[in-house]
């Protein structure tokens, strides 16, 4: 293999380029990214970055060591098609890239709310530019309405509240975070909003966004958002709206490539796709998890950081599985209202929850999820040390499950 194209230049893409060199590959590496900025760290974007003077440069993921990797950067251009036979990638700038191996790491984008087109003051949060725009919007004061009480929405609500803004959170589901955490623990996490006086309205989907100039004839551009109307008729005044309703994998460009895409590019446990010499990693990939016996698309930082090591080994070694690192145990964290939330494992609906230590009401506890009497996942609030022990223990069991 003499040339590898890595499509996607965020954490997963950069980690893939680093892994290629770390595993002895000395051919050409092209790193293609649709953003003009070099790779940066996204987790801070929903946190203090929004209200601090942190510069974009401080978020850079690259270091001086990366200069020696010999990466041919192709930033500011989007991959628009993959010809699998020739492994040729068409770019939005009119060029194309042919490579012996392809790493697909195109990530995901924020899901948008229909009807917000052309309305100012309505934000999603995924990129650094998104965060800078939201930061500017928040500077003009509240009220802020956060649509979606997931992790991104909750972190932004907490950050804005701490900065003195009037914040309301609305959630379409009856219980926030029930998907990743289950209803019990979802409620516990959602309780953080009430602890800090931030209203959380659940089970109330948004009907529409209201803007200055509503009622203007069609064709007139709409003004700034001024409110959020819920399906029960409630109107929440808003100077800024953050839409945090999940992410969509960036896989449209792969249409016609022959890859199977089902909420992400399907891969086996070692990141191999259905096409030879093409692997997929990070938010855009739905990888087979042997321990869970299903494909899982994981949108977490640690996953994007670690998984490329496996993908690159697959790309370079083919079917030789020796030395391949095991699929890492899913892990994510969140910080809201000064509380550190950490989760690791593979929770499924029906798992029971046992409080191992502390008290959820104190926002300082460790909960263990169990299935058939065996631990499957662990959730902690402000219990890092104990959490680390459990995470380690779960990871041991996770990797020893026969495949």
């Amino acid at each position: 293999m003499r040339s590898v194209a890595v499509v996607g230049a965020s954490l997963a893409g950069l980690s893939a380029a680093r892994a290629l060199r770390a595993q002895g590959y000395d051919g050409r590496i092209k790193l293609i990214g649709d953003e003009t900025r070099p790779p940066y760290d996204r987790p801070p974007l929903s946190k203090e970055f929004l209200v601090s003077g942190t510069s974009a440069e401080e978020l850079a993921l690259t270091t001086d060591d990366d200069d020696s990797l010999g990466i041919d950067w192709r930033l500011g251009t989007t991959a628009t098609a993959l010809d699998a036979g020739e492994r040729r990638i068409t770019l939005s700038d009119g060029g194309d890239v042919r490579a012996d191996g392809v790493v697909i790491a195109t990530g995901a984008r924020a899901r948008t709310l229909p009807g917000a087109d052309g309305m100012s003051g309505v934000h999603t949060l995924r990129t650094l530019d998104d965060a800078l725009a939201l930061r500017a919007s928040l500077r003009s004061g509240g009220p802020l309405v956060v649509i979606g009480a997931g992790f991104i929405g909750s972190e932004v609500a907490s950050t804005a509240m701490a900065a003195g803004l009037d914040v309301t959170v609305v959630e379409a589901l009856p219980v926030p975070l029930a998907g990743p955490l289950g209803a019990d623990m979802g409620s516990t996490c959602a309780g953080l909003h009430a602890d800090h006086g931030v209203p959380l309205l659940c089970g109330t989907p948004v009907r529409r966004l209201l803007a200055d100039g509503d009622g203007s004839p069609p064709g007139f551009s709409r003004g700034r958002v001024n409110g959020v109307q819920l399906t029960d008729g409630t109107v929440l005044p808003a100077a800024t709206v953050l839409v945090g309703i999940g992410a969509v994998p960036n896989t449209e460009w792969l249409a016609g490539s022959g890859l199977t895409v089902r909420d992400g590019v399907l891969t086996d446990a070692n990141c191999a796709t259905g096409l030879p010499h093409v692997v997929a990693v990070g938010d855009c990939a739905a990888s087979y998890h042997p321990a869970a016996a299903r494909h899982v698309r994981t949108e977490h930082w640690t996953h994007a950081h670690r998984q490329p090591e496996t993908a690159v080994r697959t790309l370079l070694a083919g079917d030789d599985a020796s030395g391949r690192p095991p699929t890492p145990l899913p892990y994510f964290w969140s910080e809201q209202y000064g509380v550190r939330i950490q989760f690791a494992g593979d929770r499924q609906d029906g798992d029971s929850v046992r409080i191992e230590s502390g008290d959820p009401e104190d926002r300082c506890f460790l909960a263990v999820y169990e299935r058939d009497g065996r631990p499957t996942a662990v959730l902690a609030m402000n219990q890092s040390k104990q959490f680390t022990r459990w995470r380690r223990q779960l990871a041991t069991g996770w990797t020893t499950v026969p495949t």
Binding site: D41, L61, H305, Q342, S384, F387, T388
Partner: protein, 120 residues
């Protein structure tokens, strides 16, 4: 536990614990006092190491971290530091943590905490 402090040349010597209280794979956090940073002490497969406890990326205690070989992974964001050199091995941390000399005397783990940068 109480830590005995002795000031020597630009280093504060702390008695961290008894050696048998820090078995392989374990770690503990000790306050260096005097407004200096806390220190994390590790037993990595029989080798005792001491580094600054606070991750250089964000405020998290490395003593709470995941010890693997001669590296500790920050419990929060997964930044890894080499316990021997303090160097980060990958994102999100980019700056090293300070390392501190360790000695074991009469069954007690002594940490020779280097003076904070700029204090000399």
């Amino acid at each position: 536990m109480e830590h005995t402090e002795t000031l020597t040349h630009h280093a504060t010597v702390l008695v961290a614990c008894r050696i048998e209280d820090l078995p392989p794979g374990e770690s503990l956090r000790i306050e260096a006092g005097n407004g200096t940073q806390a220190v994390a002490v590790f037993n990595a497969d029989g080798e005792i190491h001491a580094i600054d406890d606070t991750c250089t990326h964000q405020d998290a205690s490395l003593a709470d971290g995941w010890l693997e070989g001669c590296a500790v992974e920050c419990p929060l964001h997964g930044a890894c530091f080499d316990l021997r050199t303090g160097m980060p091995s990958g994102p999100p941390a980019k700056k090293p943590v300070r390392t501190h000399r360790v000695s074991v005397e009469d069954g007690l783990v002594h940490v020779h905490v280097a003076a904070p940068v700029g204090a000399l």
